[in-house]
Symmetry: C2
Amino acid sequence: MAKLTTRTEDYSKWYNELVVKANLAENSGVRGCMVIKPYGYAIWEKLQAELDKKFKETGHQNAYFPLFVPKSLFEAEEKNAEGFAKECAVVTHYRLKNDPDNKGKLIVDPDAKLEEELIVRPTSEAIIWSTYKNWIQSYRDLPILINQWANVVRWEMRTRLFLRTTEFLWQEGHTAHETKEEAVAEAKQMQEVYTEVVENFMAIPVVKGYKTPSERFAGADDTYTIEALMQDGKALQAGTSHFLGQNFAKAFDVKFVNKEGKQEYVWATSWGVSTRLMGALIMTHSDDLGLVLPPKIAPIQVVVVPIYKTAEQLEEIRQVVGKFSSELKAKGITIKFDDDEKYKPGWKFAEYELKGIPVRIAIGPKDLEKGQVEIARRDTLEKQFVALDEVSDKVETLLEEIQTNLYQRAFDYRKDHTTEITTYDEFKDVLENKGGFISALWDGTEETEEAIKNETKGTIRCIPMAFEIPTEGVDFYSGKPAKFRVLYAKAY
Amino acid sequence: MAKLTTRTEDYSKWYNELVVKANLAENSGVRGCMVIKPYGYAIWEKLQAELDKKFKETGHQNAYFPLFVPKSLFEAEEKNAEGFAKECAVVTHYRLKNDPDNKGKLIVDPDAKLEEELIVRPTSEAIIWSTYKNWIQSYRDLPILINQWANVVRWEMRTRLFLRTTEFLWQEGHTAHETKEEAVAEAKQMQEVYTEVVENFMAIPVVKGYKTPSERFAGADDTYTIEALMQDGKALQAGTSHFLGQNFAKAFDVKFVNKEGKQEYVWATSWGVSTRLMGALIMTHSDDLGLVLPPKIAPIQVVVVPIYKTAEQLEEIRQVVGKFSSELKAKGITIKFDDDEKYKPGWKFAEYELKGIPVRIAIGPKDLEKGQVEIARRDTLEKQFVALDEVSDKVETLLEEIQTNLYQRAFDYRKDHTTEITTYDEFKDVLENKGGFISALWDGTEETEEAIKNETKGTIRCIPMAFEIPTEGVDFYSGKPAKFRVLYAKAY
């Protein structure tokens, strides 16, 4: 098995090689669209299940809305339409016919032109709010708390596996409320849910913050974001939750009779995370040997590789493994016994390192004699011998340790790569040479934000919720009085 | 709550009303596309989970392939292309722009025309086999056993909620094998898996059979089907599994080196069930009061309606219910306590009948005195009083009884509506007046099949696997020697 390009050699190349070789995803024959391969999809399924559980615990129900948005609905909310019009797939015809000039080939049938074009959803606010209009008459119909698992399409010009693809998978929550306060609380609650899952389940520390107006979702009054820091010092927006105000209610004329008997526009939120999180997972924990998975999200948490020469030895190993294996299964731990004869142990070791299995157990004839196994942890690559009757407890503890260690490692990296600056020279130096988050004062103007972005590619990732509004100090770029302390970074 | 149109008045109207009023689905603003509402989606999720479990138990893994099929791939397998070309959504552009003549409106940007049109997948053989080509070199790469949960689009002219919609949700399995025998065995295995889930989980009896050549999937060498009979005497194809031969391997040039070192084309299957099964579920069990759900697929299996006048009474009821409720939950039974004050018990009774909740428990002050509850079963509408300490065991037994009874009821209906005929007059009489399956001899020719279809709308649903090949007898229509005993019916 050829080794991966190392991260220091070429981070971007390392990423692509890892994604393909670890069987996570690959590019397809369709421009910008990926194939999510079984191993990648198994990780995504575990993440889906965890998110779905949290959504249901917070009172949401799943539903499904159409893939297509008729153009007249698409354009109804002007800012939203403007935000997505430049990158949308448009269905114009509903039939192909035989090409009269070219046997065996098909052409678009000009007689099957749609009266109104259909946009393949880049996001579903338009289709959903045109539906909610019929569902909402009175305050009794509120709140509506719905989530949808779906595919969406945004015609991106430069694509990267998981990070930016023309089609991607996501969930999108769309809620409707009586009051502004309730909608804001919902949007913040979902930011909190995302934080919990991304931090506790994926072991990725995030910064919770507000997006600046220029970085908000098209059609939102406020966007709450969680921002993660990748190993190469670039930031990645891991999830967003939007307070949509009454923008969609007004665009689709969705009113309700309130408790006082008066007509009011409905308040809205929407929130989503996508297969992009797979990219964040990879770029937070992995190393030059391949993927490193936090145990909670790993489809296989423990792999056992038997080392043997004879069928008798294998049988003996199988019996010994069977005992702790069923103990581990009883604890809810996923374990695989790999007795595939097509590959040698060394090949398997490398393969499971590439695939990021958190714990690997090796056991051979000598171990049998000594009544032990060798346990290797993927995060630190440390190995130790463990007595057979202690394997089950040891592995359980180790999985918890790995989960904690991966989070802590990423947290420490972020801490080391968050730099407070006061001058533009410092800013450029850190952005170019060290990377990471740059904590700085901002005057709150789009001009400053835009100028810095154009000059350096550094963008304001968020106004962290944990930061106090500064009472004094000046913007490091404009010299004007500061309004916010923000985090800048180059971003995916 | 207005009552449903009855089934005898207008079966089709009853169906549509039930689907909408029970919050299963509704038509959307997009032609032919439905919105699957939360309650309908919750049922679909339970079915998905059951199917997914069975797929994994039989060695399959999930993956995800692109929504779009470039035209050149779409047309590669000729029969498949021919079968779907007439009803496919075609993406021709990737951008909208502002309409210069109409402020606030958008038009398709003619400068953003795709070089090659993209078809929204009606099924994924083409995109998947163009991918498998890169995954398969040797027999060591086989079998590939993959399933995908996805949305697909077929431009149907006449649509019905769940039964026939432009966009629908489904799963599609796509497998690749070394030998013909292995592929045939896989296709039959999946027909068996579908049978198990549809019969045991959905309580819908099915006939397993082969499709006639004219009814096969476009591109298949053989299609195995499961056929169900609806309450109105019409048949419904509930799931199909296809032996695809080497058709797609040849179209996409997918060869492998076999164990003898020789190049061979790969053998294939595909198989799918869709949200159409929701229609089968509704039309198998429901009645004039609404949906009737088999307990195994019901998102809520038991509902408790408290009857009270004072807060003290409600509190007392809550305590009594709490006890058997936690016993039921411990048994894995889903139970809802409905203390919503906005609605009266009578309204709730009707609502839960409409929604098909298998068991309803009512409890009021008199019941408290007597230490009992009233239990009503949805399938027979029978009620009985049960002592409080027997509720948990009684409900558990009752749920099993309801599941069995619903299957048996549907089975008996089908038995009563399967008629063997020997003359065309009998055939037409049964088809028009009694409905159901018609068992008859067929000469095996497409001419006979086609003529009967055109004259009567009766089609051959399948050649049941349970039927022996007849050694004598003649086709009731053509008088020619019979080749098969088949089942005819009008079909959804």
